[in-house]
């Protein structure tokens, strides 16, 4: 991904995208280490942050696209969808358990007691 032509800084990432940044006047410069053995130059903070965010998005999109491509080639789409549904259901169950009250209703406790004592319509 190219931010601006004629730049002085290039950042290479694993995704293969190339980010080119241009230092501007008036912005505080800092030393940026890309950590991948490429050029290490003075880059302004805001640019660096923007580059980082863009990189993150690009990586995310790239991964999603690769997954989608692989997905389309699979023959077990239905099973995969079923797995997804099951995962959502499990997540829902956990979320409900987190929010729902664990205690039984008072009537339920009484009813179990009545049932265990064998009371019923004829016992009145």
């Amino acid at each position: 991904m190219i931010l601006e032509r004629g730049s002085t800084t290039r950042l290479h990432r694993a995704s293969g995208a190339v980010i080119t940044v241009v230092p501007r006047r008036g912005w505080g410069n800092t030393v940026a280490h890309t950590g991948d053995g490429a050029e290490s130059e003075r880059v302004s903070d805001p640019v660096l942050i923007a580059a980082g965010a863009a990189d993150l998005v690009v990586e995310g999109v790239g991964t999603a696209l690769r997954r989608a491509g692989a997905l389309l080639g699979r023959s077990d789409l239905a099973a995969l969808a079923q797995d997804g549904r099951e995962e959502l259901r499990q997540r829902g169950r956990l979320a409900l358990r987190r929010h729902a009250r664990a205690t039984e209703s008072h009537m339920e406790l009484l009813a179990r007691r009545a049932a265990s004592r064998g009371t019923g319509p004829g016992d009145a």
Partner: protein, 387 residues
């Protein structure tokens, strides 16, 4: 009063002498029709009694015109404020928990199906709803109130049910004692008081200890006005827990009538809920409030909503927090609650004023066979089981 299983058994033999005598005399003299007609014109406290009213009815209405002398009016005012704060929750608890709780007592279910008719439960719901709304008016016990005449009429209605059940041989007196006996009246009082508070707690409603106690107090006053012998009803929430648990565990169980009444009740509520998408919520809410065992006894259908409804306390908890923290939010939710309660009630009464007339015959009168279709938070005391 601190009750034991033995003292409760003794209550099964006692009815309501004053109201029973009045009704028997009205029937003996063939004055029921005239009485009912004239009583339609008697609907507010302090109003002059209609001319031509049978003497025995005159005496009854005079004797029952005032609430018990022991009433603490500050406590009654606190009860009214509690109801205003929680009206929609109380209505929900009455509708989805108290009514099914009546049906889970087989002999009560049998009595109810003989009286209000299997096809027509809306009448009792409408009467109960209107009764509660009258009770919680600021002037409930003053001249001009509709509540006191409603109590006087309901008490006679109960007496007439006793009269008919006995005469028509619909009640096994040897096994069950008197129909609508003192124990069942106090049991009913428990269902509408402490068990409604249990349901509010389960719904996640925040209640103060003072509010809960005053709500119970108001029902205790009403219980005595409805014919519970003075001094027999539990005096506070702890005694109420004991009575309620002993009563419920002794009698609760499945019955054909209970299941049929519950089906009718669910159908009725589903009619009130707009559309059909949310219909299963009705059954799910009943199941959530009464628990699986009772719900299975009453054959409440299961659905996917059973799980979803369990989150209602969490949702309600959010609304309650808004109410606790913001006066404006509290006001808005109060108005919403007020509107909901009135919508619920008016959809049941369909604009009628419920007259609580004395039925001349059980089945016809009741449409049997008709095709019409906060800081100091209160938590319920733990179960009290007999050892």
């Amino acid at each position: 009063m601190h009750h034991t299983p033995e003292s409760m058994r003794a209550l099964r033999l006692v009815g309501d002498e004053l109201a029973d005598t009045t009704v028997e005399t009205l029937f003996e003299r063939g004055e029921v029709g005239r009485f009912n007609t004239l009583m339609r014109y008697f609907s507010t406290a302090g109003q002059e009694l209609p001319e031509g009213l049978p003497d025995v009815a005159h005496e009854y209405l005079r004797a029952t015109a005032a609430p018990p002398a022991w009433v603490d009016w500050d406590e009654m005012e606190r009860a009214r404020l509690f109801f205003i704060d929680n009206n929609v929750h109380v209505s929900t608890a009455l509708a989805f928990s108290a009514m099914p709780a009546c049906y889970v007592i087989p002999h009560v279910a049998r009595l109810l199906s003989a009286t209000h008719g299997l096809e027509f439960p809306s009448r009792r719901m409408a009467e109960t709803g209107q009764f509660t709304v009258y009770l919680m008016q600021p002037d409930a016990f003053e001249a001009g109130s509709r509540f006191v005449p409603a109590v006087q009429k309901v008490r006679l209605l109960h007496a007439s049910v006793r009269y008919h059940m006995r005469r028509e041989g619909l009640w096994d007196e040897e096994a069950l004692g008197t129909p609508i006996c003192q124990e069942d009246m106090i049991g009913g009082l428990m269902i509408f008081s402490i068990q409604v508070l249990d349901a509010l707690h389960r719904l996640g409603v925040h209640m103060s200890a003072e509010g809960a106690a005053s709500y119970f107090y108001a029902w205790r006053v009403v219980g005595e006005m409805l014919g519970i012998s003075p001094g027999q009803a539990p005096a506070d929430l702890d005694e109420a827990r004991r009575f309620s648990d002993l009563y419920m565990t002794r009698y609760m169980g499945p019955s054909e009538e209970g299941a049929r009444l519950t089906r009718q009740l669910i159908d009725l509520y589903e009619e009130v809920v707009p559309g059909t998408l949310l219909d299963p919520v009705v059954a799910a809410l009943i199941r959530y409030l009464v628990g699986d065992t009772c719900a299975d006894w009453l054959q409440v259908p299961r659905s996917a909503w059973d799980t979803a409804v369990r989150t209602s306390p969490a949702l309600l908890g959010v609304l309650e927090s808004i109410e606790d923290r913001s006066p404006l939010g509290a006001w808005a939710l109060d108005r919403l609650g007020h509107l909901t309660t009135h919508l619920e009630l008016s959809s049941l009464t369909r604009g009628r004023v419920m007259q609580y007339a004395v039925p001349e015959r059980l089945r016809e009168e009741y449409g049997l066979g008709s095709t019409a279709s906060r800081a100091d938070r209160w938590v319920p005391p733990p179960p009290v089981f007999p050892s």
